[in-house]
């Protein structure tokens, strides 16, 4: 259901992808769409093609033209360098762990997309640093010593929150999260998820959250199983 203020940020149609040299496709997606107002939970077991699907959406692997559109742009038509620039302009990524550059401070890590993308920098407001501090504050990292601490000195939970702030800064159209809570304990998982969903709503980014953990499904606008999406 698409409301008047919502817009389509992801459209996958007739996608078939196989790794170079592989005998059969690893992805076969008929139709998948997401609006900027949606937080979608995609569940599936390991090796079911979840990560490959995220890589295809992020433009890391070569997909056929016309199969994936992100924010209205056909990712398959972009050349390699253009895809890299497009990704940082429109997509925020959060991974399982080792998300941050260890020798940079939390704040520097959050500001990283603004250094590579003018669009993200412009959308982060007049002073991206203030925007980064606000995001960190909302994600529970307001302590100045934590903000300026090197990423490697932070706990895993703190690192994931910094990673979330980095994905959210400059309000990209789509946030892709690949098992971002697997290294967190139960309490931390719930609070991290709540924060992430709330912040995505607040900045206006769509969220595609991928996990094998069914206990996290609650509170998402849509829950999809990879087997429904990927018909290989």
């Amino acid at each position: 259901m698409v409301s008047s203020s919502s817009k389509l940020v992801l459209r996958i149609s007739d996608l078939a992808y196989q790794w170079p040299g592989a005998a059969k496709p690893v992805l076969r997606v008929q139709d998948l769409g997401m609006t900027n107002e949606e937080r979608v939970f995609l569940r599936g077991a390991s090796g079911s093609g979840k990560s490959t699907l995220l890589a295809a959406i992020a433009g890391v692997v070569d997909v056929p033209a016309g199969s994936i559109a992100v924010a209205g742009t056909d990712v398959g038509q972009l050349k390699s360098g253009a895809r890299d620039r497009f990704r940082v302009d429109h997509v925020g990524l959060i991974f399982q762990m080792f998300n941050l550059i260890p020798w940079q401070s939390a704040l520097e890590n959050v500001l990283m997309p603004c250094r590579f993308s003018r669009r993200r920098r412009e959308r982060a407001g007049a002073d991206p640093k203030l925007s980064a501090l606000r995001l960190l504050d909302e994600l529970g990292l307001s302590d100045p010593t934590l903000v300026s601490a090197l990423a490697m000195s932070l706990s895993v939970g703190q690192q994931q929150r910094v990673a979330a702030a980095r994905a959210l800064i400059g309000a990209p159209d789509l946030i892709l999260a690949d098992e971002p809570t697997s290294a967190l304990d139960e309490d931390a998982k719930t609070s991290f998820l709540d924060l992430l969903k709330r912040e995505c709503a607040s900045v206006g980014s769509a969220l595609l959250f991928v996990s094998h953990d069914r206990s996290l499904e609650e509170g998402f606008d849509r829950v999809l199983d990879i087997t429904e999406v990927n018909k290989v």
Binding site: V60, I101, W103
Partner: protein
Amino acid sequence: MMTSLSLAVGSLWNRRFVAALTVLAIALSVFLVIGVERLRVSAKESFANSASGIDLIVASRGNPVQVLMATVFGVGSTGPGIDWDSYEMVEALPQVAWAVPIAMGDNHRGYPVVGTTPEYFEHFRHSSGRPLAFTSGHSFSEEDGAVIGAEIATRFGYEIGTTVVNAHGAGEVAFDLHDEAPFVVTGILMPTGTAVDRMVFVSLEGFDRLHAEKTTSVDPFAQETRANSDPVEDATDGVEADHHDHAHEPDKINAIYVGLADRGAVLSIQRAISEYPAEPLSAVLPAMALIELWSITGAAEQAIVLMASAVALAGIVAMVVMLSASLEVRRREFAILRSVGATPLRIFSLIVLEAGLVTVAGLLLGLVLLGALTAILEPVLLSRFGLQVDASASLLRESWLLLAILMAGLAASFVPAIRVYRMTLADGLSFRL
């Protein structure tokens, strides 16, 4: 660019211990390469400076390099001496502006003693035409007067009026002291950075007196030594021991420094002298003899330059090892950078930039080390070897060498950078390594 620079600096700072060691390795390479270059150029300059202002050196026929080494640098001997008649012949040639006789073969505490005339101090030029100057005192006017080079004055603390005793032969250890014929220092020369600093100058009369008075020595030991070794010494010294007081006209001298009124006539004069019928003579062009000398020392020089280059190469290899060894560890870092918008090409350039920074830091540190060490060692180099290490002397060549090292560093960094490029393309955004 600023982003890449700050990322490169940050990443290097994160690995600062290893990075510092690499910078040090490159600094030492630069130190050695540029140090060898400066020494080489300074040594050549020092040699060339020593012989400037002299158009021809006339000596008994022999190897030009040997003549040059013996007369200008006081190393070795000129072979048999030449007759005073030959000196008069040369002096009388119309194209000759001045001719200064040189007698050698004695030493003062290992430093060569030169018998000459006061004109020597007027005509000798060093370091691109600069004349000799006295720190104190003046040329010798008396038979027993001596002028000493700056290094001798400093090393032995001699002053005007100090009495010095010379020894027979050119070796450092002398058993045959001319203590019966002492000299009094009348003048001390200003430092020249050439062999002159390490020479004692006496008048021809004084030089001859040494040998004339020797026979009357009452020292039985000296007497005995002399009696045993006389024939050999006479043959090798080149100063015939015809022990009479020749006053202004010795029988034999070792060489003549010649200045020409018209330098264009140098070849015809050279020919005229070599065709002199009375005795076999050589007229050596110092510049040509130097070229010949460089061709002899060239192989050793090449070997040293080659060794320095090998060390420089080792420094570059150390950097490639440092960058390559860190790649596996940094794989995640690169994947993170890609996820936030860095293209593989950007990461490639990041590695090259890191190499550039390390190399430039190594170059600067190497130059600073070299500058500091030169400043410390300069007095020693000058006093012991007569080497004035002048950084500006080989600036252009040094710049090329530094540029070559920088380029080699950047080119070498392509090895790890290409690996990173491939790695980041293959890894994509995969973090689960």
